[in-house]
Structure formats: structure tokens, C-alpha cells
Symmetry: C2
Subunit: 361 residues, 2 copies
Amino acid sequence: MVKRVYNFYAGPATLPLPVLEKAQKNLLNFDDTGMSLMEISHRSKEYAKMHTEASSLVRELMGIPDDYKIMWLQGGASSQFYMVPLNLQVGKKPMEYVNTGVWSKKAIKEGKFYGDVKVVASSEDETFSYIPKDIEFSGNTAFAHITGNNTIYGTEYHEWPKVPSDVPLVCDMSSHIMDSVIDSKKFGVIYAGAQKNMGPAGVTLVIVRDDLLERVPENTPTMQKWKTHAEKDSLFNTGPCWAIYICKLSLEHLKELGSVSAMEKINRKKAKILYDVIDSSNDFYKGHAKKDSRSLMNVTFNLPTPELETKCVAEGLARNLVGLKGHRSIGGMRASIYNAMPVEGVQTLVEFMKEFQENNQ
Amino acid sequence: MVKRVYNFYAGPATLPLPVLEKAQKNLLNFDDTGMSLMEISHRSKEYAKMHTEASSLVRELMGIPDDYKIMWLQGGASSQFYMVPLNLQVGKKPMEYVNTGVWSKKAIKEGKFYGDVKVVASSEDETFSYIPKDIEFSGNTAFAHITGNNTIYGTEYHEWPKVPSDVPLVCDMSSHIMDSVIDSKKFGVIYAGAQKNMGPAGVTLVIVRDDLLERVPENTPTMQKWKTHAEKDSLFNTGPCWAIYICKLSLEHLKELGSVSAMEKINRKKAKILYDVIDSSNDFYKGHAKKDSRSLMNVTFNLPTPELETKCVAEGLARNLVGLKGHRSIGGMRASIYNAMPVEGVQTLVEFMKEFQENNQ
């Protein structure tokens, strides 16, 4: 029996066991080619079939309309931080952002290389513990940018902000892509590094409405243009084939579970189990995010003292509950309970937390 | 017994079987963590150990001096085509290139976005069948760029061009990195997409001399600067962890075989077996590259007619010799015999080629 733990890392993060088992089984011989998926030409028909299926699964599971392109790019969401303004800036219009944490700030920083950036709302005043309400984006701007889920602070948008009809809404969904059903038509651009809620590190899903591909300046280096990749179905150059393959297996698995709507139910159940224990702990466990902004994916909380937090992380580890240390910016603890985390993992965690509280309060 | 073929694809390409077997064995449980390498935080000590070992192996196997940084980046060599001029252009100095084929031309195209490009030598006059002799780079230029091995045409530098002492030599080694011993001090920058001679697609090795990291303009987006990645040991953002891991296993395998010097002997032996059959075929097989420019890695040749070429590719495939079709730009056939191709693979190929000639001439 192979050793496996419950892995609460924020990303790279746990993957569904059946996905890993399938990848392992076929590692030396993909699709009866006598080659590993890692060894096959990206121009071969066997690779092409897999690649197309991966994109089709995204379209189906997220309900992406036909007038959007689905791309598998390299460089992480961090590269999209500059690709978004580079590809969307037009007519020197301002670019508007909401600041909900470290990743928003990084996106804002890169936007400034391309023109006039306005931060229209921020939750920095309360250590990013909430999603701002009544966000007002202006008309006649290049785009409106939000970070859908904030991995570090454990907050998530539960209602999308309204944008003027001429402004594309751009969302970094790296840490909650496909955690719940969305109306994808609301967005001009969606991007997500795969390594949190969809697959392994090394590939970034980028979904762009067709008309937005035309804004990029002519004199832009080829690889920096979404249009380059969109026109060649992400095969302009050799892509991150293995990472796309693991995403494809992961998306198949999601489809078998009943698609995103079924996943959302499971995610709500998992989050409730964990937040209920926090809320009923008489402030032994104290959630960082305000209740109406709580993330389904990253549950952040503190204990009465840093010493108890260190002890709790260590005792969790001894019980094969891995990756529970919070991000250094807010300390404490964090349990990332992405799509691939089974309900049993969360149940095991809360049993441990209840016991830890009994023994230490 | 798992089905395996001899894979002559130009890239992604064959990987050493022991590497794949090790990756398969540990896929569900890396280094006794109870997690896949794909699931582990890139900030964990287990991942850090692997990451550092991969870089150390590059330094050791290629003899890279201490004043060079070793980076694992995303975006392919195609992204280096713009990152090279972006990071090295300085004082509006011209940038000089040698044009030895499709990949050189792509590099030249991206250079032009950043300033004055001069092509100092080209073999386009004879369908890129040779490496130009007596290349003369000028002094007082930003850099001198060459493509070390030309995958499509099957040519390779066997002697490095001289550059003025103030000019860094930049080499795209994507299709022959570590195929033979080099004096790495001759180069200012070496870059290589991993998916031909080192590992899987999705990671690019970039080696830069320290002083060259300082030229990049201040107002450059963070991810486009080598300096960003160099300062954080390629961990500024989440990297392509799995692809780096497979490179690391592949480099360990190369070390076990006796390092690059031993590999070079094997590569020369493999190339000789194949070129000897071509040269003794009375022009039934006709090599594309001139003899003194022949690649150790990509052996390109034509048959008397396109029909025979199609037949030869098909009959090879029926014998589990895969990926022998030449690139569309010169047609014919191509056998890529990278480091991971065993001598037996080449022997099987030449036995088939001799038989095919007997039956079809």
C-alpha cells in the first residue's frame, strides 16, 4: 500500500487519486503509442486528440460560449499580470483594479508598466479580511480586474461586481477555477494557474473573448500576444504537454463526479464542516475572513497564541495532515480544501482540531 | 511487458527508460512524503532539495563557472527569442545574429522589436545545409547570437565562432544541449528548451553570466526580466515543477552514464552508424547537411522520390520506428538521435534502411 497523506497545501496542491493512478499506469505507454505522453511530438495525432479534449472539457464544464478562445499557456498567472494590460490596454484608457490582497497587488504593479491604473476598491484597511461591497467600475476604461479568490487571506467573491457594458471584466481565478458554477459570459477574460484547483504547476488556463484579441499593438513580441496562441490553438510553440494532460485527466474526473454543479455542492459541504468547527470553538479557532467573504477553497484561522499554532501544525503533520501552516503575511493556519480534497480529508482534519482544542485550551 | 517503440521524433522526444520508470514508481509518493511531486508546495523542503539538485547537476555536467546563474523558466526557447534582446540590449548597440535556419529566423524576428539587428552570416543560399565558416562578429555590439544545432536541417556547429572580447556569445542549444563537451566560459548566455535533449516540454534551461543580468531596463515587467528569476533561484513564482523533476532524473541518468564526455562518445558512435549507411547507399539515401556541418542529433536525408520517402516512413512505423518523417520545409526523412536514443535504436533503424534500399532500388 503506497503512503498517502491529506495534503492541505495552497498550491501546488492535492490532485485526485484516480487522476494520479491513471497518469502512473500510462506513463510509459500513452494511448498505446509505445511512448510516454512526455515523449510524443506535439504535432502528432495522438497528442492533438488529447489537447483538443482538454480544451473541450473546459468549454463544457464551465459553459464557455463559442466566441471565447481557450488557451493553455506557460509562465503562470504571474505572466498574465503583464499580459492582461499588454493585450487589453487600448487608446490610453485607464485600467481599473480591485485590491483584495497580495496577488491583486502584484497584478496592479504590472498594470502600471502599461499605463494609467486606478484602484477602485480595496480591503487593505482590514488586512484583506473581506471582499469590498458596492464596487464601482467606471465606463470607458480598458478593463476591470478582480482576483476571484484570495489564497492567502481566505476570501472569495460570492457575487460578481457589475461592470459597464463597454468594459471587459477580467478575473484571476487561479485558486478557485471551477469551484462553483459561474456565468462565464459575465467575463471578458478568465485566467488561472492550474496548480491550485485544476492540475499541476506549469500551465495556465487563459480564456479570452474573441473581440479582445484584436487590441494588442502590432509591435509586440510574438509570444507576448494572446492572439499568437489563440490562432494556433496553443500550439504556436511546444506547450507544457504533460501539465495539460494532467489537467485533462482532472477535468474528466470532475465530469464523472457530475460536473461543476456537483462539485460546488461537495465544496459547500466541506467548507461548512470546517467553518462550523471554527465557529463553535468559542474563539479557540478564530477565522480570519469575514463570514460573508469566506472562501470555499482556503480556510484561514488563528489560534490563541503563535506557540499553539506551531504546536497544532506539528501535531497535524504527525497525523499525516500536511501543509496547514498559514502564509507568513497573516500567520496562523490555513487549510486549502480544493476540489481534489475529499470530504474524508476535511472530516479527519476537524476531528483532529476538536481533539487539539480539548487538550490545549 | 509494456509496449515501447524507438522514437525518432524531433521534440518532444524520447526519454531514457530508467528515468520514466523512476518517475512512474514514485508518482504517487515522492521522497516518502505521501504526495506526488506534482502536489507538493514549491516552498517545501522536499521540493527545494530536488530543485537545487537539478541546478547543481547542470553546473556539474556542463562545467558552468560560479559566476553564471542557472534558471528553469517557462515559455520555451520561443520566449527567449524576445528575452535575449530585451535583457541584453544596451546603449542602442546593434545585435548580431547568424541565420542557420527556421529557429534562427524566429530569433532574429523578435530581436527586431528591440533595436538594430544585423545578420552577419547566413546559409539560406543553400537551404541551410551548412554552418557558415569564418563568421565575423563586430565589436561594440549588444550580443552575438547563434543557433547551435538546427533541428530541421540537421546541421550543428563543430567549432564555435570567435567573438570580440566585449561581446557576449548567446547560443540557442535547444536541440543539442549536453550532446558533447563544451567550454561554457565561451558563452555569455546559453538557453535550451528541455524537450529535445534533456527532459519533457514545459521548461527551458537558461544560463546567464552574472554581469549580463544588470542590463535590463528598470521599467520592464517583472516576469520578463532574467534578474527576477536569477535572484529567486527560479522560485519567484511557481515553476514547472514536474518538468524540472524529469530533467533532474534525466541529468542523474547522464551522470551515471559517465557525464557529457561519455555521452559524446556514444553520440559520435550513433551518428557514425547512421551517416555511414547514408554515405554507402550510392545516393539512395542522400544526406541534406554538408559533411562538415552534420548534426550529431538530427540526421536529415532524402530518398530518390517523395513516394519512396512516404513508403519508407510507413514501413518504419510498422516496425515500431516512429517519427521519421522530415520537417515540411525540406521534406524527406529525419532521424533524431538525441542522448536518450540507445545505440540499439540506431542499429535497428539502419538494418531497416538497408533492407528497404535492397527492396526498393
